[in-house]
């Protein structure tokens, strides 16, 4: 029998309670749709920011590109669900599925090959992966078209709601994976840059993605995205259940990853790259890994966001908004998962909720005057974030107590001259 730690139990019960309370309030219509949207946006921001906190807070890579992956996830999933609900075709989902799976497999295979032949520079690897993915996306389109009719027929045979939920769920996961794969490709050469330069390059990615979305109908060939006019007609199917489930999943994954040998390796890269290298840690691998996982979260969050309002506009993804997750992460406290989640909800409540409600009539434009002032005051008062390093018990790095001295027969060796039983130490 595994003993369940108290922190875990408290976390699980707490999560269920929070879910149930909000769900009840929603069902009883005590929370109106205004607050409902804000809560969902808070949760979505929490997922994005958790990803960024992994990348920046724990791995130390200053990234402004989180918003680009958020945008990719949002538009990719929205396109697929739009095609399903409006055009009654599973083509979008299928192409996305094949593209993501095929390039995923290709990335793993090429990755294995590259690590075996050694010594290949990041840019060459990037070229290799790029060629492979471009080819495979083409294959995916062909496969998708071939299978479109039969899969559509199958899904249409299911009850309408069930098929929509299946498509939605698949799309969320695929959006995350797509964002992860794009981030892998982008990160491969760019992660070799130094800290600030990496930040600037990722800012560039955000702007490039935004510009591409502005011209999605003309340059990318997705007329349904309608470019700078904004995409409409996306099904509004992000329920509290979906958002909450993915938020909890994100928290648990982050926690389980961080409180393991992998997490320690990730953190060691932030602490001291050279020392980490000298300790046998493949920092390029861990930087890429963290970047990919963080972007996966961003993609998932994007997919959830796209289906809240049923409307997407490239301006939501411009670089000025890309500072939002960064602000949240810094406010919550770099390297604090609890802080990030709390700050996300606080941010959504204050910026989207209270500032809209409390400002007197005629002063609506003051929202963005008050917001930066709040930002400044908070930053000056608490430069290390609201919660600093605080974590709730579940997320804390528990140091196991020392084993009983009597049980462990190694004598204390202060004179340091007696060689003790080395078996245990050397392993």
């Amino acid at each position: 029998m595994k003993k369940i730690q108290r922190g875990t139990l408290v976390f699980a019960i707490g999560a269920i309670l929070v879910f149930a309370i909000i769900q009840v309030l929603l069902s009883l219509q005590i929370l109106n749709s205004f607050w409902f949207t804000i809560i969902r946006i808070g949760a979505v921001m929490a997922i994005v920011s958790l990803g960024l906190n992994l990348i920046y807070g724990f791995n130390g890579q200053f990234s402004l590109g989180q918003w680009a992956f958020y945008a990719i996830g949002a538009y990719a999933s929205a396109d697929a669900t739009y095609r399903w609900t409006q055009l009654h075709s599973a083509l979008g989902v299928l192409v996305l599925l094949f593209a993501v799976v095929l390039s995923g497999v290709a990335i793993l295979l090429i990755g294995r090959w590259v690590s075996r032949i050694r010594g290949m520079d990041a840019l060459s690897q990037f070229a290799l992966y790029l060629i492979a993915t471009v080819l495979l996306v083409w294959v995916a389109v062909l496969l998708g078209k071939a299978l479109d009719a039969s899969v559509t027929a199958f899904l249409a045979s299911l009850p309408k709601n069930v098929s929509l939920q299946i498509v939605f769920f698949v799309c969320i996961i695929l959006a995350g994976l797509l964002a992860a794969e794009v981030s892998f490709l982008f990160g491969l050469p760019v992660l070799t840059l130094g800290s600030d330069y990496f930040g600037i390059a990722t800012l560039g990615l955000t702007i490039i993605v935004k510009v591409l979305l502005d011209n999605s109908d003309t340059m990318l060939g997705f007329p349904e995205m309608k470019g700078a006019r904004g995409m409409i007609g996306i099904p509004k199917i992000t329920t509290w259940f979906w958002v909450f489930t993915f938020l909890i999943l994100a928290i648990v994954i982050t926690r389980n990853l961080l409180l393991s040998s992998y997490g320690r390796a990730i953190i060691s890269v932030r602490e001291d790259e050279i020392a980490a290298k000298a300790m046998g840690i493949d920092i390029a691998f861990y930087k890429t890994l963290t970047f990919v996982i963080g972007s996966f979260f961003a993609g998932v969050a994007g997919a959830l966001y796209a289906h809240i309002n049923g409307f997407l506009h490239p301006n939501t993804f411009n670089f000025i908004k890309s500072f939002d997750p960064l602000i949240i992460v810094v406010f919550g406290g770099l390297g604090s998962v609890t802080g990030t989640v709390a700050a996300s909800f606080a941010w959504a409540l204050v910026l989207e909720g209270f500032l809209r409600l409390w400002l007197p009539e005629g002063f609506e434009t003051w929202r963005f005057v008050v917001y930066p002032l709040l930002l400044l005051i908070m930053m000056l008062l608490k430069p290390n974030g609201l919660l600093g390093n605080y974590e709730i018990a579940y997320l804390r790095n528990l140091i196991p107590p020392l084993r009983n001295k009597n049980e462990n027969q190694t004598p204390p060796p202060p004179p340091l001259t007696v060689a003790t039983d080395t078996q245990e130490v050397k392993s």
Binding site: F62, R116, I117, R118, G119, M120, D121, A122, L123, S124, Q125, F126, A127, L128, L130, P189, V190, T192, L193, G194, D196, Y197, G199, I200, A201, L203, G204, L205, I207, I208, V211, L212, D214, N215, M219, I274, A278, F319, I320, F323, L326, I327, V330, L334, T365, W366, R367, F368, V369, Y371, P372, L373, L375, L376, M379, L380, P383, N384
Partner: protein, 374 residues
Amino acid sequence: MRASTATSKSILLEYIIKRRWLGNGLLILVGLFAVYRLAVELINNPILFFQQVINGLQLGFVYALIALGYTMVYGIVRLINFAHGDVFMVGAFISFYGVTRLQLHTWVSSVFPSFPPVAAQIIGAVTVVLLAMVTCSVLAFTIERVAYKPLRNAPRISALITAIGVSFFLEYFGALSFVFSPNFITYKRPFDVTTWYLNKGGIASLQSGQAIPPGSVIFSNIFVIIVISSILLMLALQYIVRNTKVGKAMRAAAYDKPTARLMGINVDGIISVTFGIGAAFAGAAGMLYAIAFPQVFFWMGIIPGLKAFVAAVLGGIGSIPGAFVGALIMGQAEVLSAAYISTPMRDAIAFSILIIVLLIRPTGIFGEPTREKA
């Protein structure tokens, strides 16, 4: 060893890997494509091409003035001062009010009516520029004292967040109707635009209503003003940094703050001065930009600010000549890609160039390569 077995399998493969052929090939392909496109356009229509180059220069010089502020501030406090673009916006607005409300550009001729009109106009324009520069300096000085100085010992990211906050604040505070305006305002140039055309026959001024003679490149006095004033300001900065006590202190503080402090340099004061000088340049750039593209708007600082920042990084952030060169490249890239590739894509292309340059030279064109120290 794994390595040896794999390499003995294929010498060709090893060669490709060692020479980084795949990656470099990709870069070369992209570069060749760009060169090819430009060459084709140049041969097809050289006049249009040179016209674009002139437009690019005009833009590049404005970017250079903004980029200096980014690069100086980054050089000394390692802060990406996101509020700099908005200081530029404030500069444009101040010059706008200086011209339209205070009529500052005509003060000489109204006080001394007998003064030669050309000289009076120049003095008036200089007054407006000085007003914009001084206001921006004071603003930046205040920002530095209020928002950045208290965070000098906090994590670097805190100051970055406050910089973003200050940027938001300047924008949206400026957008309030009693401060600047939430709308686009047309900027009335304080002088008349004269256009010259340049062709094989030499330079001649273009009369109003006259069609542009075929085969000639045109430029206006705006272009001349921007280029000359930018170069003058740049030389002034070069002089300040190289030859004055403040400049030496700035370089010392940028190199090593604790040691500079031990040498009796008031580092905090120097940092404030750096912010002030950078902002003064942004203020001048604001006026020049508003003259060139006669419009002021509370968001006008974002995109030029961002471009100038990219220019600073491209040239090697922390390096003054780097900022200048980077800005000229940025100006050309923007104008040429708008003309020949796609107007909406020009921001994306600017950033693609930045990323590619960083991949080749990780610290920018003039940046000092960083060496890992163990």
